[in-house]
């Protein structure tokens, strides 16, 4: 099961839970499970069938460029963090 870290601003939705374990193979499935557990999560994270522009997802320490379709392993760590600007305008 993947360990999903709930960012502090979303912990009001998760009733204070900072991390949960979820069985999923993609980030999209992670968010769907989060929504089922804590309604409102999908609205907070997703817009126009993609992650919100200011949000990045990191799987196993690597910030993903695939967003919702990023694969998630059985023992993955998943973080939702502010998107990084980096050396370009891209996330």
């Amino acid at each position: 099961m993947a360990t999903v870290y709930i960012p502090e601003p979303l912990q009001s939705l998760s009733r204070g839970e900072k991390e949960v374990t979820i069985e999923a193979t993609t980030v999209r499935q992670i968010i769907a499970r989060l929504e089922a557990l804590y309604p409102g999560m999908e609205d907070a994270l997703v817009e126009d069938e993609d992650l919100k522009p200011h949000i990045a997802v990191a799987v196993d320490g690597e910030v993903s460029i695939l967003g919702l379709v990023e694969p998630v392993g059985a023992d993955s760590e998943v973080h939702f963090i502010p998107a990084l600007g980096g050396g370009s305008t891209e996330r």
Binding site: P7, P53, H54
Partner: protein, 779 residues
């Protein structure tokens, strides 16, 4: 791990390293001859039949409301063909949007930065543009445009901008409390809440910070300030646009990403991306700043109005006043450690000046500043604040250099109080694979400890530094490195050479590195691969050359495209020999039938026969690889400070960096040396000097003092190679982390030379003299 202390000599292309034939060698860059003979075509070199010349009218005020713009006098000036203002640009949404291929912009802010709408927000803000038959006529016509301004009070620093009674730049700016919750940009019209200049505020936290500080034996807390500095690229911005009668738009410009320029321009002028073709010209430096549009939509509009091509080119003063420097910053940091040197807690607050529109690099600064260390309890808070200065743009490891100036200077004080060697302290606390960063993410395989060990063993570190007013400083730096989508095609020529078309603009030698990937895979000589950067209609989408990601992502694409060629060549040989493809071996550019080794062909032999045996072979790849692997650097510097003049001389500089695997060591060294030199300028001289009306007083290279070769010793670049498991050859991005440590390393050296801690950048002669006059040891 392998370590090579490399001196900048050209080796023959035939030399090899680590079992590779091409990777690790130092061939001549493919664009070298054109560049040294002056034949290379940069943005401003474009000349087209019927070309008109554009000029931009810029605001004389740092903050003012535009009451009216009257262009009637200028329009009748002989030779003037068209004038545009923001009134002719569609006003796009103020909501941050994704352009669909990874680029994230706020179109309203971007449009309003290209041409001011309603308000000017900094001196130099573009207000209108003229196209005329000569640049001189266009220049004269600017003076005939009448703009009626209502001058408003300007706010120039983040601290002033955060006061309750501060002038507000954007009446509807949405103050984000966390980007995880809201998309940013402008509030809805119906939202009438109080105005703010704080565009964003966020917190990263791990562990129990209060408990961590309770466990500390030594705690140090300090404040640091850095000035606004410019990237200082040699080539000013320019753009030439041709709006055709069929509604299509062609743009010639130099940028770090022609696909990003295409997407941004299309959005701002309101046409589909398929109508826009951007032709990338050679680029004379970017360092992050040429990732944004300034002139392109303006030139496009002028071309649309006149039906002729229009060229806009900035002067150096316009570059300083009208394009993005990096942010000025204000940083407070506190760190605690046990007597044995182990860090127990850290806490920092970073306030970055975004300039006139939101988007400073405070986020990457916040995530990078503590990343070299394993700190169990940490909290980092960031503020992005708009001020009446040019909109900030990315500058080499955006945000990380200022943050490291604070963290690495503070750590030097902590080491002093603990009586610890600064490299030993870092070896004790250094991050490694699995270390959790303040953002919560665990680090992948990195080479920080190996680079520290290499630094400690380097002769520079153990050589006594003798003489008065001399000191040695060290500092380290982290940059996460980036990746993104990339595309490449490899076409086989009948003479056995190949054409490589890739999509990354070449800033630092990436064409050579890309060609080396292809040559290595196919067993060809480097010179048998002809690389070129395709325009936006000729190659698949490729994300911007930024984040130290070009060689990583485009290298991957080239590796895959070459592998595709290799697979097709094997199939073709099998077809010719009437054998199974799995029985054909490909090694060192030769195909062999494994069951009868006498049946063999070179790549060249087969290339000659392609058209007659099934047609040409073209390999292609489109990738979005993960795992760029962070870059880490350790710098050692010796300085001598003249106590009378305050001038700091760099006596010796050694920069060590984990490159994963140096594809082309000369270009890795060049990136290391370039970053160091920019860092030295940032540390010792460079700053935007403003008067109280927000006017930049030193907008020329005469007064904005960048280091030259006369100011510097040879920078000794030491490449450490801890392979990145996320790349077939193990490379890491190398372009940016080298600018992260210099400011702190030099500040620490100045302290050892003078006994005075410098906590404001730049540490220019006047400021050093002033600090020495107030000298209190240890402060």
């Amino acid at each position: 791990m392998s370590v090579s202390q490399v001196t900048p000599v050209i080796e023959t292309p035939e030399s090899s390293t680590n079992g590779y034939a091409v990777i690790g060698t130092r061939p001549i860059r493919p664009d070298g001859t054109d560049k040294v003979t002056g034949r290379a075509q940069y943005g401003a070199d474009v000349r087209l039949t019927g070309l008109l010349y554009g000029k931009i009218l810029r605001s004389p005020h740092a903050h003012a409301r535009i009451k009216s713009i009257d262009v009637s006098r200028a329009l009748v000036f002989p030779g003037v063909k068209a004038i545009v203002t923001a009134a002719e640009l569609p006003q796009p949404s103020g909501k941050v949007t994704d352009l669909g291929e990874g680029a994230m912009i706020n179109p309203r802010f971007m449009s309003n930065n290209c041409l001011a709408k309603d308000k000017v927000l900094y001196k130099g803000h573009a207000v209108a543009a003229v196209a005329a038959t000569s640049p001189h006529i266009a220049d004269e016509a600017l003076a005939l445009i009448d703009v009626d301004y209502e001058v408003l009070p300007a706010v120039l620093t983040a601290q002033d901008a955060m006061r309750e009674d501060a002038p507000i730049l954007h009446e509807r700016l949405m103050a984000l409390e966390n980007p995880n919750l809201r998309p940013g940009g402008l509030r809805e019209d119906t939202d009438t809440g109080p105005g703010t200049n704080v565009a964003n505020h966020f917190v990263f936290e791990i562990g129990d910070v209060a408990q961590g500080f309770r466990e500390a034996d030594v705690i140090v807390e300090r404040e640091y300030h850095t000035s606004t500095v410019h990237q200082g690229y040699i080539e000013p911005h320019s753009a030439t646009a041709l709006w055709n009668a069929d509604g299509s738009l062609i743009i010639w410009c130099s940028s770090q990403g022609h696909f990003a320029i295409r997407d941004q321009t299309a959005r701002i002028v309101g046409i589909p991306v398929s109508k826009v073709k951007v032709i990338p010209m050679e680029i004379g430096g970017g360092f992050g700043a040429k990732t944004l549009i300034y002139l392109e939509p303006v030139a496009a509009l002028l071309s649309k109005k006149t039906g002729r091509p229009v060229k806009l080119a900035m002067s150096r003063t316009e570059v300083f006043q009208g394009t993005g420097p990096t942010s000025g910053t204000h940083i407070r940091i506190k760190m605690g450690a046990k007597k044995d040197g182990r860090i127990t807690a850290a806490e920092a607050c970073l306030i970055y000046e975004a300039g006139a529109f939101p988007g400073s690099p405070v986020n990457p600064g916040s995530q990078c500043m503590l990343a070299p260390y394993d700190i169990p309890n940490a909290r980092v808070e960031g503020y992005d604040v708009v001020v009446n200065r040019p909109k900030s743009a990315a500058y080499r490891a955006p945000g990380a250099g200022a943050a490291a100036f604070a963290a690495e200077s503070l750590i030097d004080e902590l080491c002093e109080q603990l009586h610890m060697d600064p490299l030993e302290f870092r070896l004790l606390n250094g991050a490694k694979e699995g270390t959790r960063r303040v953002s919560g993410l665990r680090l992948p395989r990195i080479g920080y400890l190996e680079t520290l060990q290499t630094a400690k063993a380097h002769p520079h570190y153990s050589t006594p530094l003798e003489g008065a007013n001399r000191g040695r400083g060290v500092a380290t730096g982290f940059w996460h490195n980036g990746t993104g989508p990339a595309s490449a095609t490899v076409s086989v020529n009948p003479d056995g050479t190949v054409i490589l078309v890739e999509g990354s603009v070449d800033i630092g030698g990436s064409r050579a590195s890309a060609a080396m990937h292809v040559a290595e895979v196919l067993g060809l000589a480097y010179g048998e691969v002809k690389p070129m950067v395709g325009d936006t209609d000729s190659v698949g989408f490729t994300s911007t050359t930024g984040g130290s990601g070009a060689t990583f992502k485009t290298g991957w694409a080239c590796y895959e495209a070459a592998s595709d060629v290799k697979r097709q060549m094997i199939e073709r040989a099998a077809k010719i020999w009437e054998v199974a493809p799995e029985d054909v071996e490909y090694a060192a550019g030769t195909l062999t039938y494994s069951k009868n080794p006498e049946l063999r062909m070179t790549f060249r032999d087969l290339a000659r026969r392609l058209n007659a045996t099934g047609g040409p072979i073209v390999g292609r790849a489109n990738v979005a690889p993960r795992g760029p692997g962070p870059g880490l650097a350790v710098h050692i510097v010796d300085v001598e400070v003249d106590p009378e003049t305050g001038k700091t001389e760099i006596l010796r500089y050694t920069a060590l960096q984990d490159a994963g695997k140096a594809i082309h060591p000369s270009y890795v060294e060049g990136q290391i040396q370039g970053g160091v030199v920019q860092g030295i300028g940032w540390a010792l001289n460079e700053e935007y000097v403003f008067n109280d009306r927000g006017e930049m007083l030193n907008a020329s290279f005469l007064d904005y003092r960048m280091p030259t070769s006369l100011d510097l010793p040879m920078i000794d670049a030491v490449i450490v190679e801890v392979p990145n498991p996320g790349h077939p050859y193990g490379l890491r991005g190398v372009g940016e982390v080298s600018i992260v440590p210099p400011m702190a390393a030099i500040a620490n050296a100045i302290y050892r030379a003078t006994g005075t801690r410098m906590r404001h950048l730049p540490m220019s002669p006047g400021k050093v003299v002033e600090a020495l006059s107030k000298q209190q040891p240890g402060n």
